[in-house]
Subunit: 162 residues, 2 copies
Amino acid sequence: MNTKEIKYNPIGIIHSPFKETEGVPIQPHGAKDIKGSIEIRKKLEEGLRDLDGFSHIILLYHFHLSKDHSLSVVPFLDNKPRGVFATRAPKRPNSIGLSVVKLIKIEKNILYIENIDVVDGTPLLDIKPYVKEFRNMEEVRIGWLTEKDDKFKNFKADKRFK
Amino acid sequence: MNTKEIKYNPIGIIHSPFKETEGVPIQPHGAKDIKGSIEIRKKLEEGLRDLDGFSHIILLYHFHLSKDHSLSVVPFLDNKPRGVFATRAPKRPNSIGLSVVKLIKIEKNILYIENIDVVDGTPLLDIKPYVKEFRNMEEVRIGWLTEKDDKFKNFKADKRFK
């Protein structure tokens, strides 16, 4: 299997009110109305054109505070170990995080966002417009999360994935 | 701005019926029922536990056929140049792709999937369970895509992002 190393350079930095992992909402539900901003590298500013037509954007970022990885993790919402790919835990083989946030406005290379659930200073890898394939899906099953779904809203991170 | 290089090793390889970029559906809508599989590195197999409870999964992968990047692209659905971050075009500063696919079954380190819209041999970076934050969002605006949405279904890639 070709598993050649892949290298990325962050396109910008995410700013949020969360100075450390502890206390960060674990899903955007819990991050409702929390304001942040994204500073995109000046030389990439042109790539933001037309993005302001979208109400929501997908952020892909690097969990820079996560060291090592674990194939089995006890998620915040649970007390049983789960396979890491069945969770959103940061301690993944490739520590990529994904959040959907609300885009308020763009001023030059700065994006103002809401519903942000990441730590201040997180390196941003990519932005994608949030489009329809993520909605109106029928018959979605969510495995071990089924009974935990209501817990999401007010749950905050503790230290377990430091 | 700290834009230190980030290195990832693929966790596996995606297999699909598409041997080249041309002809690949540009969104999962157009990929409905198209079958593929994912081969996860043997040593990561433990990380797949509990994933089979989810009907849909998010794949993050590297557009390995995309060379260079462009800040302004003419998307498949359009004839006007758009900022690359307002599109899903592969020629991005960090060529990360995202697809939501249907998970049929898992046998050891092999995942059988449907609705796959990527080229055979694509290196996989991460798998995440598809959960609720992506659904039931109200008032979503989709910018320049608004009037092109119906075109999605039968649209296939041409050579422009080779």
